[in-house]
Symmetry: C2
Amino acid sequence: MGYTRSTDRLIAELSRLPGVGRRAAQTMVLDILKLPQEDAVRLARLILEVKKKTHACVACFNLTEEELCPICSDQSRDRGLLCVVEEAHDLAALEKVKIFRGLYHILGGVLSPLEGIGPEELRVRELLARIGAGSFREVLIATNPTLEGEATALYLGRQLKGAGVAVTRLARGVPVGGELEYIDELTLAKAIENRRDI
Amino acid sequence: MGYTRSTDRLIAELSRLPGVGRRAAQTMVLDILKLPQEDAVRLARLILEVKKKTHACVACFNLTEEELCPICSDQSRDRGLLCVVEEAHDLAALEKVKIFRGLYHILGGVLSPLEGIGPEELRVRELLARIGAGSFREVLIATNPTLEGEATALYLGRQLKGAGVAVTRLARGVPVGGELEYIDELTLAKAIENRRDI
């Protein structure tokens, strides 16, 4: 049930995007109907342009319009340090912090046996090849602190044993500004285990 | 800050839709990048198709691909009963309930002096003309139970005085399944005021 045949089809198409629910798709279509014609045309063109121009960096699989992404081609970055993340938006989140100055490797997801995602479905082979080439001294595995993220980090850690690189993980603990009362028990437990001298 | 020039432009364009935040736009663009090419092409085409084919019903301003919307051209609907709503999605919400069997009139918003929206910006003139034509016996004003919605309902009520139609409003009260503890005081007050014999 919906509005018209063409709106229903657009709602269905938008709803197929994993991040867009049915209700959000409906709102968007009503918004699009209110757009000036030239804005709707620009939106449709940009969707095609993004698909045409943006692709994966040949080195790290970050998004880029060139062969190498801006980070991989930035000669001031530390080429001995590699940070492994799940997706491009994780890279974007880390870049915002402006602390990490090494290179990245985008896995393209996490191991998830239930969904049939094994190492072959991720860019693990490419990761091992990059590290095997020998220029990295440290690999920081920055998968998400979820069950699958942890399992993926453990798996990669095992694969990198004997590769002659330090393998590190983001610190776990209480978030800055968080109130202990509202922090989940597992995080609190990790924060106590990993307590540090001040 | 973002990913590439073309993704940044698409994110900016999507963020201009009132219902889409910046973060949702980013997620969508990453989703779109993962779509098979033919799906992205279909999405872009559907945006243009929706704009081309869908327009306002000449009678009630509901969305339609014909001259009249399916409700206005349905001869089984009660043509003596008119329900006034703010937007097409309100009509869709009411239709889902399958209780109301009259016709609709879509105002296109609510009165909002702060945003410069007066009766001229809404389809008030068209509403008065429809009612003036004389076939309606009752007008149910189903604007949202917000401050602006109430003000608009009051305004329309005044305009319709002496038009020879009953003017009604959706009942206010506690929502079915709601817990009194969590219901706001105004709603509770209305529910007590409007209490009914059982």
